[in-house]
Point group: C2
Chain length 103, copies 2
DNA sequence: AGATTATATCAACAGACATTGATATAGTAC
DNA sequence: GTACTATATCAATGTCTGTTGATATAATCT
């Protein structure tokens, strides 16, 4: 039986898995919305969650998921925590995604 | 409070939801693998499922999920059912995804 | 006709994860 | 110090969905 690259080649298969993990993170409406909200500039949590139809704690949870995956960065300023996109990592995953699916 | 586009604009918000639905479908390792397997040319189910670490019926299930979402097309030739990528729809979703996340 | 092959469907189960409510932590202001 | 604000964490719940095993359908062949 002829082997197919994305199933047999370890590097390609590994890239596919990483892409799928990335997509799992962003295939959630609220998280995707958070990423969009952060596109223009960094924002603190209290600027984010009233725009979503979410409770504060749930917003915080989704932010932590995004952060754990390095898709966003945070820095604390007094009481507030500002979140911003981690463009470097985000672009890495987007590039990888395009490679996996289209090349 | 200043409204944020992806939360207040109906068109943008609707596009975001469609993108998320699309990502939910493809953020599953086996389905993504199926799409990759079909990149080069149409294949019948019996050419697909032995390459995955999946049972025949589960492969069939994932194919039906992809088909229901129009990401693949099928045509029957005798006993065999050949599946192929629906490039038109796929590209539509990919374009939309890039718009939502990067623009 | 019966036998075999290719594919699809169905019900049941199990694990993952988004959501909720309550509470904790940490920083600021009085 | 106390009170208040901003954010995070935790346990419990419920829903969604991938997986399994069994079975059904449909086409071909003898």
């Amino acid at each position: 039986m002829p082997k197919i690259k994305c199933c047999s080649n370890k590097k390609i298969s590994s890239d596919l898995k990483k892409t799928v993990d990335f997509l799992k993170i962003i295939s959630e409406e609220n998280r995707m919305r958070i990423l969009c909200i952060l596109k223009s500039k960094p924002k603190c949590v209290c600027e984010i969650w009233p725009n979503l139809d979410l409770s504060q704690n749930l917003t915080s949870h989704h932010l932590s998921v995004l952060k754990k995956f390095d898709l966003i960065k945070s820095n604390k300023q007094g009481l507030k925590v500002y979140y911003e996109l981690n463009h470097k990592i985000l672009n890495k995953y987007l590039t990888n995604f395009n490679l996996v699916l289209t090349k």
